[in-house]
Symmetry: C5
């Protein structure tokens, strides 16, 4: 049985981890979900590594919601850099699902965007683990998670 880590924060303003877990269950079977919650996005990298190494996950979905200020952008960059390092240290994928607060024009849109992006990336994580051929078929298709796909350039 494969294990999928679902990792989120108390800083985020939407229960992105709960949503991702829900979508995973709707998408398929053959895996167990391991949950972990940390305070903020800078705590995600080592928590992802611990899920992969200590709780034996095969992949991790790391969800966070950076704030709208410049300092938040820097934090997000640091967290992303760390999440890439984790992957290189473990040879396993960590799907980063960040929704920046200033991507949405209202709280309502923020909640909508966070849910949709979390769901779409949960499916990506499932595909990477169980059906990589699905990704191969969509190479270069201009897919997006959250907002609409932009499609191929013509």
């Amino acid at each position: 049985m494969k294990r999928i880590g679902v990792l989120d924060t108390t800083f985020a303003r939407v229960d992105m981890g709960g949503i991702a877990a829900d979508e995973l269950k709707k998408t398929g079977t053959g895996f167990k979900i391991e949950r972990s919650t940390v305070p903020g996005i800078k705590d995600l990298p080592v928590a992802a590594k611990k899920l992969l190494e200590e709780r034996e996950c095969d992949i991790v979905i790391a969800l966070g919601m950076p704030g709208a200020q410049q300092i938040d952008k820097v934090c997000a960059h640091e967290a992303s850099t760390g999440l890439i390092q984790v992957q290189l240290m473990t040879n396993k994928h960590v799907i980063e699902v960040f929704v920046h607060e200033d991507e949405a024009k209202s709280e309502k849109e923020l909640a909508w965007l966070a849910e949709r992006r979390a769901r779409e990336h949960a499916v990506n994580a499932y595909n990477m683990l169980f059906r990589p051929e699905k990704l191969a078929k969509s190479a270069g298709k201009g897919l997006r998670q959250g907002f609409e796909d932009v499609g191929p350039a013509r």
Copy 2:
């Protein structure tokens, strides 16, 4: 007995380490505090690593107060990047507690903010070590350390 490292700087303008240690003692038992002080935030990463590896801490709270100028922002970024690396090298959490001087409008507010953030993150560190279920229950709740929580997006 668990060990919690409390690491601070002589550069900071508030005794954030002393405050964090005080809050830890109020929060619970079952741990010993290891203290360390370095000149500035760029000295924090290796000092955190030494606390984790040489003084056998299970978690470290790294407290610092970056200045308000552009160069200070760069230093903070370098320190944060290093603190994330430390965690990935040790598979242990380091809770970064930075208060930027320009987050506050006066010295008085700066002292208030530094104390409150240090106290709230001390509790986070305790929770990560002793009661992770507390964090899990607050996933996606829009929590903040220092200023008011913003709460979930609706």
Copy 3:
């Protein structure tokens, strides 16, 4: 038989991986192509490492298309940093082929640019593996991939 990894994304708006594979086949023989597709450019580093280590590639061509916004520029920087790390961890080359959406003035030019850059870098990858003397002869010649060569400074 050498192995060349061709790695692309579903985010890109042009089938850069397919184009690179096509060009490789036109360029020479003596190698097998290993394909992999991930959602976005931040997923490229570990996927490149897996191609090099688990699927025994001798070199990887990593193709992606960062968007035009500031956040996309940061993502590209993070991906690039990771791709360099992969190379240092494996002592093998990963040829990064990124086309930024705002490099082109229209969708049509974007498609043209992505194809041309992918083809020219596919030849570079082939040369690095099979005929390094070709590169040596072009040292300092002001070569570019995609747009016109600028040539030597005179």
Copy 4:
């Protein structure tokens, strides 16, 4: 006998290494100084590592003077990042003593600032090695090296 590395550059416009060595000798005994000079600040990281590993230093003082232009700021950031990595690879402190050319309003002030910062950080390095309790007593005191201390926030 402890060993303290004093590492500087030919790029700097003040003999910061000589000054740091002088201050160390005035501050205490029980150590030997190992000197090394490199062209610029980007050469400092590996030189610091070699002092720690090949010449068996217990701590290194790395002194440099980044220029005033944007490119120099980037170089300083790269050097600092490298110096933090060195520390994490060796579990030893490297005290970075950088004076940015644009911190001073005149050549005379630049020379004054570089000397004072080098001297104060030489004492910091000595304290870290021989009397860490001195640093502990100054935690949160708003100390600065070079310009005046700002003191605690009240």
Copy 5:
């Protein structure tokens, strides 16, 4: 017999590698030159590492010419970060010789600057390997490679 790696790119608009090799030969003896050419500056880090590890170089001179646009500045930063990492992984120096296209006002000045900087850094590399005391004597002297030395601050 020592080995000095001379590593350049096809992107550069001046044959900086050829110039550096020429200057090395004029400067002294007791070494063999190992040449390598890659497409762009982001390919330099792993190529430098391969020169140090697989072709047993004692030092590498890595020459490149970043373009004048913002994206080129980011590439240069990524390459520099990688080159510092290479040094920390090998405990050997890599002398980075970058000439940014916008450092010069004309193609002619660019060619002049690239040649002069390549020659002066070739001597630096030779000195680091064979006569480190030459560098020690110039500590804090405000030396520059390419444009005029600025000299000590007075």
